[in-house]
């Protein structure tokens, strides 16, 4: 079977490339491939990634601003994040990512709000520094409980020669609060990815040196920080509860439901636990170099990977923690086994194609496989070579690998490989649903979740069952129609 699947996948690539003019064809060919768990030098080793998107296609990629404001900085709840430039970016990225947090919005926390300098032509022509300075001052008057402000640059800022660093520096001194200027203009780099990196660098430069909260911090031997969990639908909450139960103390959560203090005290952790490698490996490496804190990647999607990760983490802390961890694993495994017993019979053998960003194109494979579902295609919006290399460990069968896949390609791949479920983003969702295919958004958990940890796996399983086994998919064909329609 696997050989047939592999052949089909290779054929799909050949077919999809036919449509392109030569230059684009040559380019795209390098981003597509097939790999198998036992394969040598397959697509996971060779796929070209983190390169310029081919112009003129419907790429699903975002920009550096999205990576910084939307992903890394935006969820830090007690800071105010200004979308600096024209009105659009802040509006389109407002309250759409489901970075859950606890707080009184508009008073001591601000995540779902849109603060923008709303540039006009005048600001472009004469520069926006004065307006920015004034904006910072107005924010401090109206939102006295903000614990700092970040300035998230939109495209024009870097092009008109504004000096936002200087403005931030002056304001920081005057207000005595963190004021961070982030040059994450959307045109920088090829995707969100550079925005993550730039955002990490600013945390490194502006937050890490701030020792004020670290001074009186009383450490324990079991302090850890969660890095790279954006608390989508409460993911990080469903993760920290496990770490706490195994005897660890989670002193920081980056950056979903994070407060400034949690950013600043993270260097007190004994171990940094890194979930989204892509967006926060930079700062983890920095903390390792600067503060000597080791970091460990983990995967809390699905019981197999969660258990494997918990054991790895426990091993770091020694026998006492390991014993607690085993007890906890036993407790939760009874529940997740019951979940599998309930849902696997309804989902087994169903084929899945993924297309997401960050860590999910590889991390969620295990959760599907735990339910007996077979992932036959996956790809990253903005992954790098190291992401694809890591993917190799997670694939369970011959898998079509597609980097920066555009809408046309994904549609063709789906038509050819005929998966039972497509799991991707909102822009793709309705394309496939119209083709009669169950679909789950895997950025926002389709307004459900959380999906991290054991409790979350139960939700994941229930959601996949809901998607796959809803009666609505059977209505597509009208009773008077004879032929199959749809994909």
């Amino acid at each position: 079977m696997s050989e047939t699947l592999e052949a089909l996948q290779k054929e799909a690539i050949e077919e999809v490339l036919k449509i392109y003019p030569d230059k684009a064809k040559k380019n795209r060919a390098k981003h597509l491939g097939v790999d198998t768990p036992e394969g040598v030098k397959g697509a996971c080793d060779k796929t070209r990634s983190n390169k310029q998107t081919v112009p003129g296609v419907m790429s699903q990629r975002g920009c550096a601003y999205a990576g910084s404001k939307g992903v890394v900085w935006g969820p830090i709840k007690d800071m105010i994040h200004i979308s600096h430039g024209p009105v659009g970016c802040g509006q389109y990225s407002r309250a759409g990512r489901r970075n859950y947090y606890i707080g009184t919005t508009g008073i001591d926390t601000f995540v779902t709000m849109n603060f923008t300098t709303d540039f006009t032509e005048k600001d472009i022509v004469f520069g926006g520094d004065k307006k920015l300075k004034k904006a910072l001052e107005e924010i401090d008057i109206l939102f006295p409980l903000n614990n700092g402000i970040s300035i998230q640059s939109e495209c024009p800022i870097g092009l008109i020669g504004d000096d936002i660093q200087a403005v931030a520096k002056v304001h920081k001194k005057a207000s005595d609060k963190p004021t961070v200027a982030v040059s994450c203009e959307g045109f920088r780099g090829v995707s969100q990815s550079l925005g993550h990196h730039i955002a990490n660098d600013m945390i490194r430069d502006e937050v890490m040196p701030d020792a004020s909260y670290r001074k009186d911090f009383v450490s324990t031997d079991y302090d850890v920080a969660i890095i790279g969990d954006y608390n989508i639908g409460g993911d990080a909450w469903a993760s920290r509860i496990l770490l706490e139960e195994m005897g660890l103390r989670v002193i920081a959560q980056w950056s979903g439901d994070a407060s400034y203090k949690e950013m600043a005290i993270a260097p007190k952790a004994k171990l940094n636990l890194l979930h989204c490698y892509r967006s926060m490996n930079y700062i983890s490496r920095h903390m390792e170099q600067e503060f000597g804190i080791p970091w460990m990647e983990y995967n809390f999607f699905g019981p197999s990977k969660t258990t494997e990760s918990l054991r790895k983490i426990a091993e770091f802390f020694g026998p006492e923690i390991q014993a607690k961890t085993e007890a906890m694993i036993a407790k939760y495994t009874a529940m997740t086994d019951a979940v599998i017993a309930k849902y696997k019979p309804k989902l087994e053998g169903k084929k899945v194609m993924l297309y997401v960003g960050g860590l999910r194109p590889r991390h969620v494979i295990g959760a599907y496989e735990d339910l007996g579902m077979e992932v036959i295609g996956t790809g990253y919006e903005f992954g790098h070579g190291d992401d694809y290399k890591r993917t190799k460990e997670d694939i369970a069968r011959s898998t079509l690998i597609y980097d920066d896949v555009n809408e046309y390609e994904l549609e063709q791949f789906v038509k050819k490989l005929k998966p039972d479920l497509v799991a991707s983003g909102v822009k793709e969702k309705y394309v496939f649903q119209k083709m009669g295919l169950p679909f789950r958004q895997m950025h926002s958990w389709d307004y459900s979740g959380p999906y991290h940890g054991y409790d979350a796996f139960a939700i994941f399983a229930k959601d996949m069952d809901l998607a796959m086994n809803s009666p609505v998919w059977s209505h597509t064909k009208a009773p008077w129609e004879k032929e199959e329609i749809g994909a």
Binding site: Y20, P21, A24, T53, P55, V57, S59, R61, G62, A66, D78, P86, V87, G88, C89, Q91, Y92, R94, G96, I102, T104, I107, D108, T109, T116, T117, F119, E121, I124, K134, A135, L142, L145, N147, C155, P156, L159, G186, F187, G189, V190, G233, W237, I241, D257, S259, Y260, I265, M335, V339, V426, E428, Y430, G436, S448, P450, D455, A458, D463, K477
Partner: protein, 515 residues
């Protein structure tokens, strides 16, 4: 832990005791004031409701907070998708396009086709010509459009890319592939105006550029164009077309995006519906053009009036009198009497208004949104005897709109109690609602945070609406559309009445079964 027989998602999962304990323990590591000193949060929260805060808030000059507007290219994409087999193409960063597509898709629950030419640092330095050369060719090869509508992001505008020259350059090097493909273009800088400005600029460009070679002096005396404007209600487009058909077969909608965002299950096709390119090319030869959104078509109007020398009229067929005006306009332009069917619809609407008026009469409304939408909605509220206490618009042009709105408000018995807030945002509105509360709030999804904070019920009418389904399928225009507005508003009032009277053995004597 989850009960496998009753698996709950985050809504209820985090209410379980173990999670509440974990969340409480987390506060030790937090700096947000709610964790440090909750009383301080309460104190500041109370202060934000005060007149003192309102004054400081209204004095803001530099920071905009929660605006109800978006940027130009969003509108340009809607304009482009109103034409058949047309691919909107954004010259700029693909990050913008990802945002535009998500934004529309979350509103319509439909795919939104649009490409970008992925400009980045090298383009910022050298200009985006190379991107456009490859981009137009790739777009044409993959998506096989009959027309490409090019707009720009602020990046391309800041570096000053010359679209006209770039398109010529791209055609020259395309080895003939683009020879017969109409490519229209508009500059749509995000730092000027809002999404309705982008709609206007793209619409003007499409109409002007597609009609090149046609003579404005050739007039089809029966042909009437209707431009809907930035219309998020697909049902409105359908209803306007239906009303048009009652008068004449030669009434043509220019920019008809109804079907594009309303395709059925059973297969996906990239393009659906839209004004035919033939109709777009001959728009110049019509006798008259009616714009249904005066302030979304300011530049387009100049083309039609000054270059095409057509009769140019604006109507706003939202509410009763707006629809009356529209119907009479069609009657005048076609020389035909108002059809019986419309007379019946009107009578039915008025009958319904007379059935429901007690629940809207004297009720105070705060309402925000796009300028033309507001003119229509406020007009309807006034017709029902409601009080438009706060009318807030971030993106109305300085010229004309306030006077138009004032003229509508002047018809209200409570005209002195009404306020027009130009250029204000929803954080301003928060202060207004705390200091001068209304009974109801009408607006888009972003009003839900105001509802949460002030307790004033939100009736969702506007764009975007992400958190309720299918409202965009309905009409808010025409007599039938006004009936929808009436239904939503009156039932919103009645829902609130039930909410306020449902306390058992306290207020539920007023929890009536008949209202």
């Amino acid at each position: 832990m989850q009960d496998v027989e009753n698996i709950v998602n985050g809504q209820k999962l985090f209410l379980k005791e173990e999670y509440q304990t974990s969340l409480a323990a987390k506060k030790e590591f937090e700096s947000a004031m709610g964790a440090v000193n909750p009383a301080k949060v309460e104190e500041i929260a109370q202060w934000t409701k005060s007149w003192d805060y309102r004054e400081k808030n209204l004095a803001r000059e530099a920071i905009t907070i929660n605006p109800a507007k978006a940027c130009q290219p969003l509108g340009a994409i809607m304009a482009g998708l109103g034409f058949e087999n047309t691919m909107p193409y954004v010259h700029g960063s693909h990050g913008c396009v990802a945002y535009f597509r998500s934004y529309f898709t979350r509103h319509f629950k439909e795919p939104t086709p649009c490409v970008s030419d992925s400009m980045s640092e090298s383009a910022a330095v050298f200009g985006g010509l190379a991107n456009m050369k490859d981009g137009l060719r790739n777009c044409n090869a993959m998506y096989k459009p009959d027309h490409i509508a090019v707009s720009t992001t602020c990046m391309a505008e800041v570096i000053g890319d010359d679209l006209g020259a770039f398109i010529i350059g791209a055609r020259e090097e395309a080895e003939g592939e683009l020879d017969n493909l109409p490519i229209t273009y508009a500059h749509t800088p995000s730092f000027v105006g809002s999404h309705i400005t982008g709609y206007d600029n793209m619409m003007k460009s499409i109409l002007e550029q597609l009609s090149i070679g046609k003579e404005a002096s050739v007039k089809d005396e029966e042909r009437i164009n209707i431009i809907p404007g930035f219309e998020p209600y697909l049902g409105s487009l359908a209803e306007i077309k239906e009303i048009g058909k009652m008068f004449s077969d030669k009434i043509v909608m220019l920019g008809d995006h109804e079907e594009q965002w309303n395709t059925g299950a059973g297969g996906y096709s990239l393009y659906a519906g839209g004004t035919t390119l033939e109709d777009a090319k001959t728009a110049i030869n019509a006798k008259a053009t009616i714009s249904l959104q005066k302030y979304s078509t300011i530049q387009t109007a100049k083309t039609i009036k000054n270059k095409w020398k057509q009769i140019y009229e604006t109507c706003n067929p939202i509410g009763l009198s707006g629809t009356d005006e529209f119907v009479m306009m069609l009657s005048k332009l076609t020389g035909k009497d108002v059809p019986e069917a419309l007379k019946t619809q009107r009578a039915q609407l008025v009958d319904a208004m007379q059935d429901s008026y007690p629940y809207m009469h004297g009720k105070k409304f705060a309402i925000y949104g796009d300028p033309d939408f507001l003119l229509g909605l406020v007009s309807f509220i006034v017709e029902m005897g409601g009080i438009p206490t706060h009318v807030l618009c971030n993106n109305a042009p300085r010229k004309g709109w306030e006077e138009d709105m004032q003229a509508i408000i002047s018809k209200s018995d409570w005209k002195d109690d009404c306020n027009i807030w130009m250029g204000k945002d929803l954080w301003h509105l928060r202060s207004l609602l705390f200091t001068e509360p209304t009974d109801f709030l009408i607006g888009n999804v972003y009003g839900k945070e105001l509802y949460r904070d002030t307790g004033i019920p939100l009736i969702r009418i506007g764009f975007p609406i992400f958190d309720r389904h299918h409202l965009h399928r309905y009409s808010i225009s025409g007599y039938k559309g006004a009936l929808n507005l009436l239904t939503w508003i009156v039932n919103g009032v009645l829902d609130q009445l039930d909410e306020e009277t449902k306390d058992i053995a306290k207020t539920d004597y007023f929890f009536d079964c008949v209202r």
